[in-house]
Symmetry: C2
């Protein structure tokens, strides 16, 4: 009854698809968060749902932790095997199983990445809009309820996942949801697994909603005198129901870095990066309305990109901002925050959080999925400097406290994992968090599914 | 330890706000479904969340069922006290507590009805779009995951409920969700309570998402040669991402009844009733695109209504279709079905279901929230004729079987209650349904919350 005995029991069935080799374990022990490399005791690569069920059943019998692993891009330590155990990699379960053009949905295995899915969709006129920065796996994105720049228009994984196949801790295989667009058919188990971070079950198949590629796309950037003006413009855009596809806040520090990194020469001021999807006329009208709103709020230099290459260049600048910042701060790494507040509090929350950063400390950058009230303040710390990391943590905690005081959430899209666990009782109330713990214990009495994350006392 | 002792324990605190009078009990014993009048043992009218918690705590101690009651308009027997107990009426918890214009959300008590909320929102430029036929309570709508004609554009209660206050079976008061537009903050308890039909907790406060009243609205109706053509037009509209606000299928039988009941003279053919929300130009463009799609699919007589009074008249005709049908079939009542399938299967599902109805039996009408793949076949039965009701039940069951075979759900928007319970194992698999039962027992070990509904073995 141990991790070792679970590995021994699984080895005969999985052979080379179960590894205890040091380099492999090290590779799966890394994480994109601030946790030291923590290798699992073994890595297993199942190829079918039944094999996942075998792993679960065996681990459940032996009391061995299972950490489901998609692309390893999560940001709050979700994949860190803090209690050891077996990392279950979905590298070999990465096929797009069905594409239903007419119904605009697709059935995929959890290891499919978002870019892979969009590649396979290219000929259909459909696309999958959820775009966290990394090329994350769809399974992992569901598990962390991921979103990205298009959430303001297309929603998050919460709205995108229609149905799931899930292996429970004891090896039971269940199916949740249907391919119908709505349902009043009992408890919404699909939504319960979405965002459960591998602690309630192991997602082995997903049906996701797709969208039609718009007839026309145009993008624009606009500089603002101050962040308040930019946020105000976003707020008015949302209130006027302009169906912007993206409306991203990029602060002056990021712009400076982007200018230095690529061959842009944008004004060193806060910017909005905006994208419009629709018909030719619709896109033009949206752009006109938003252009006016921007000017009214101190925006200037409204710049257009209707050609695909210009648009791609613009979004590449936005997406690569982190590399630009890294280039500007050699040897430093971003310590990321993820506040999300009601949009009326966004400017205030953001400005206060920026003011918190002592002038003589590290650089802090801000990008924001402003239409959702979500922003990421990122502290460029020296990873070797414990003092700086301690300060970053302290500042990040202050953002979380502030966010909660404003009626928001400590995590807009990165999840809870290990990093945000300490705020769960405060955000949900002790009673609410305990209720999550009760659900966890009901689904996984032995506590083998991604222990140490999200719920109380595990 | 009984229903009687629970009532006796509550009586001193609630006084006249707890009634065991026969006429009151009878009133709360009625339902809009096909279940005989089943009075509860008592009705209680709490005024605060704390009072609801007192009721729950007391009933939990005494093993007395609680049936939460909003407006009593549910269609699957959700409010029938099949095991007796206390009906908890939200008549006195019907205030709109907060309206946040800037964030476009509102905080309401569960007894607020959807029309009441829209009345209170009138001055704000915002509206609440979820519109089941009846003037249901927001609490009840959340509990049954209701939707309506606008779901194709604005989603259902699933997308509308942002946060809840819930009294648990043992009287604990918890809060779920936040006013932020998205979150990756642990298990989605909000979505778990939405659609739980009063079996997991008692909703005592809701934060709901609002939308901006569109600058322009126009509506249109269009006649089709056949239902297939109408459904095809809907499907193409959705695939082209035209953001229709409503796209409703109304069959020839309904049109005949509407013509007879009001002073319309529409062609006696299947129709689409469509509404567009947007800017002036946007609405005109949408209408043009959809108009073309309709003509390509055999639509004709495309008729416009941009003036508010014409539009209201048109939607009144759609909303009153049931009274029109009732007028056409004196003494008869509709036996409603609620299938929802992937849109590619909608025409087939609908046509086969219509063909099932023997020619020498009752009239059957079809209306459909076609953009969602959801339709209601309604059998106009004589409520005194057991044979007809038996036939209606048999036909309805066949629709459910067919829906499941096509990858859909047995309930698009009416819920499970008592009526659809027999299909739960088939829709979710025995394992999936049992998992719902496990959640139920975890939340409500004594089984006092709306027993006899939704979950297995209670």
């Amino acid at each position: 009854m141990s991790i070792e005995s679970a590995i021994a029991a699984l080895k005969p069935q999985f052979g080379a698809r179960l590894s205890t080799g040091e380099s492999v374990r090290d590779q799966y022990g890394r994480n994109e968060a601030w946790y030291p490399v923590t290798p699992p005791d073994a890595v297993v690569w199942p190829e079918t749902t039944e094999e996942v069920a075998t792993v679960a059943r065996t681990c459940n019998e032996h009391g061995c932790p299972i950490i489901a692993w998609g692309a390893g891009t999560s940001l709050e330590g979700h994949i860190v095997p803090v209690q050891g155990g077996i990392t279950l990699s979905f590298d070999r379960m990465n096929r797009v199983l069905e594409i239903h053009d007419e119904d605009m949905d697709a059935v995929v295995q959890p290891g499919v990445t978002r870019m892979q899915l969009n590649e396979e969709l290219r000929a259909t006129g459909l696309f999958f809009p959820i775009d966290p920065g990394a090329d994350a796996s769809i399974g992992g994105m569901a598990a962390t309820r991921a979103s990205g720049t298009c959430a303001v228009r297309y929603g998050t994984m919460r709205e995108s996942v229609m149905a799931l196949e899930v292996v429970m801790a004891d090896g039971r295989i269940i199916r949740t949801g249907t391919r119908a667009r709505k349902a009043s058919n009992g408890y919404d188990l699909t939504k319960l697994f979405v965002g459960s971070e591998g602690t309630l079950g192991i997602i082995t198949e997903l049906t996701v909603r797709l969208h039609a590629q718009p007839e026309a796309i145009s993008a624009a950037i606009c500089a603002f005198e101050d962040i308040e003006g930019a946020v105000q413009a976003v707020q008015q855009t949302i209130q006027m129901s302009v169906p912007v596809a993206r409306i991203e806040l990029v602060d002056d520090v990021c712009i400076r870095a982007i200018n230095a990194y690529s061959d842009y020469s944008m004004a060193e001021a806060p910017h909005l990066f905006i994208e419009f999807h629709g018909t030719e006329a619709g896109v033009a009208e949206q752009a006109e309305i938003v252009g006016e709103i921007c000017v009214e709020n101190g925006g200037s230099g409204f710049e257009w990109a209707t050609r695909t290459e210009d648009r791609n260049r613009l979004w590449a600048a936005r997406h690569n901002f982190y590399y630009a910042i890294k280039a500007m701060c050699p040897g430093r790494t971003g310590y990321n925050t993820d506040a999300c507040v009601p949009i009326s509090r966004l400017a205030e929350c953001l400005m206060e959080s920026r003011k918190d950063v002592p002038e003589d400390s590290f650089l802090a950058t801000t990008i924001g999925h402003a239409g959702d009230g979500n922003f990421h303040l990122s502290y460029m710390v020296d990873p070797e400097n414990a003092e700086e990391i301690a300060l970053a943590k302290k500042l990040a905690d202050r953002i979380s406290e502030r966010t909660l005081a404003m009626g928001g959430t400590v995590s807009g899209e990165h999840g809870i994992g290990i990093g945000k666990k300490k705020f769960m009782a405060q955000e949900h109330g002790q009673e609410g968090w305990e209720l999550m713990g009760q659900i966890k214990r009901t689904f996984d009495p032995a506590g083998i599914l991604n222990p140490g994350k999200l719920v109380p006392g595990n």
